[in-house]
Symmetry: C2
Subunit: 232 residues, 2 copies
């Protein structure tokens, strides 16, 4: 039995996560851990979110309601998502986990060496597509956003409770496809609220634009809140 | 470093998987390990597949082209899928992994104690929704089927290669939604064939019925092939 070793590893992860968060705090950068199943639409959501954050000022520079983002992409293999983010002119670091099923704080500490915190306000860590294993690892983020697409079905909260219970917001994506599925948003909302009564739930279509403004505003508010917490 | 211990655990899993497979062989039961992301449509696929297997004779009894199925459902929590399978009159055992991200051969050995192999021809193990961690564990099945829904996107083969490389068939689900997405089947077929040149790929809509007959025939053929291998 290696339970002690596992606990030590988790403790080491949590300690490093705390250090990662302290570095973000010192630089005034909001850290977001974006989790969800493969293909739930995390990267497409970021494309829509960044377009919205940019549109507030017409440029990727800080202003009222605008945040300069950077992204860390976590994938088993390849750099498809990182290339999509780079095409937006957003700084991006690709982590290839080489089979590992989630990111951890060690990987993030290594990846952030390549980022200039002085020129960003928002660091989004797009985790490996996995609704299970990502739930257990603090990366040093301030908020974790769990993404669920309507095409995955409305039973996922009950089946994968940990990831939703421990998150700070839920984003339901691909709502433009709802009429073609048997997805019932009320069921999801009820299940989420039973696990996590105060959690905000955003219903969005990244491709059509529905709900993106509300989500962007929430991110901006979280950034302001983290700044206030740092000053006080 | 606990690499030796991890190897020992995997070896123990493989040994038990071999025993699980021998028990299936002795009873003339085909074992199928069904893997895919959360919400890719595994349970709905089984509903359509079993309806087809039943329709070949009008009853769940063995005949030319008909197989009597049973199911083991693997979930983090709950028994939603097992209830759906039970509603079909198909024997089902629910495994709750209590947080674990994949099934293993130990769980299957325990679950099969509750199944009467004498009254079934086909055991489908519906794994935990996970495109990563399920790739590494032999459960004692004869064939592994990897499921990918069009709504997950056509980049998933490149991003999660291990699960597709090690499978015996790929089923692309929800093809009725293809016109509403940017999913390009040709890209997926090309990527699959690069990893695994001989693998059959079925394009199905479980709700509309497209492609289900072909998949059912393949399962029946696999059963016959396993029977032949056992006799020779």
């Amino acid at each position: 039995m290696k339970i002690v070793a596992a606990k030590k590893l988790l403790k080491a992860n949590d300690q490093l996560a705390t250090e990662n968060r302290a570095k973000l705090d010192a630089a005034g950068v909001l850290g977001v851990n974006l989790v969800g199943s493969p293909g739930c639409g995390k990267t497409t959501l970021l494309e829509a979110l960044f377009a919205r954050l940019r549109s507030a000022t017409g440029a990727l520079r800080p202003a009222s309601g605008a945040l300069r983002p950077a992204v860390i992409e976590g994938d088993i293999a390849g750099s498809i998502d990182a290339e999509r983010i780079a095409a937006l002119g957003v700084p991006v670091v690709q982590i290839n986990t080489d089979g590992a099923c989630h990111l951890d704080a060690v990987m993030i500490a290594a990846a952030t060496d390549d980022l200039d915190y002085g020129s960003i306000d928002l660091l989004v860590i797009e985790n490996v597509g996995n609704l299970v294993c990502t739930a257990g690892f603090d990366l040093g983020e301030h908020v974790r956003i769990a993404v669920l697409s309507v095409t995955e079905g409305d039973d996922k909260i009950v089946k994968y409770p940990a990831i939703f219970q421990g998150s700070d917001a839920v984003v339901i994506t691909k709502v433009d496809l709802t009429p073609l599925t048997n997805f019932q948003a009320d069921r999801v909302l009820g299940d989420v609220r039973r696990l996590n009564p105060e959690i905000p739930v955003f219903q969005v279509s990244a491709l059509k634009g529905d709900g993106i403004a509300e989500l962007a505003q929430w991110v901006v508010d979280q950034h302001a809140r983290a700044q206030d917490a740092r000053k006080s």
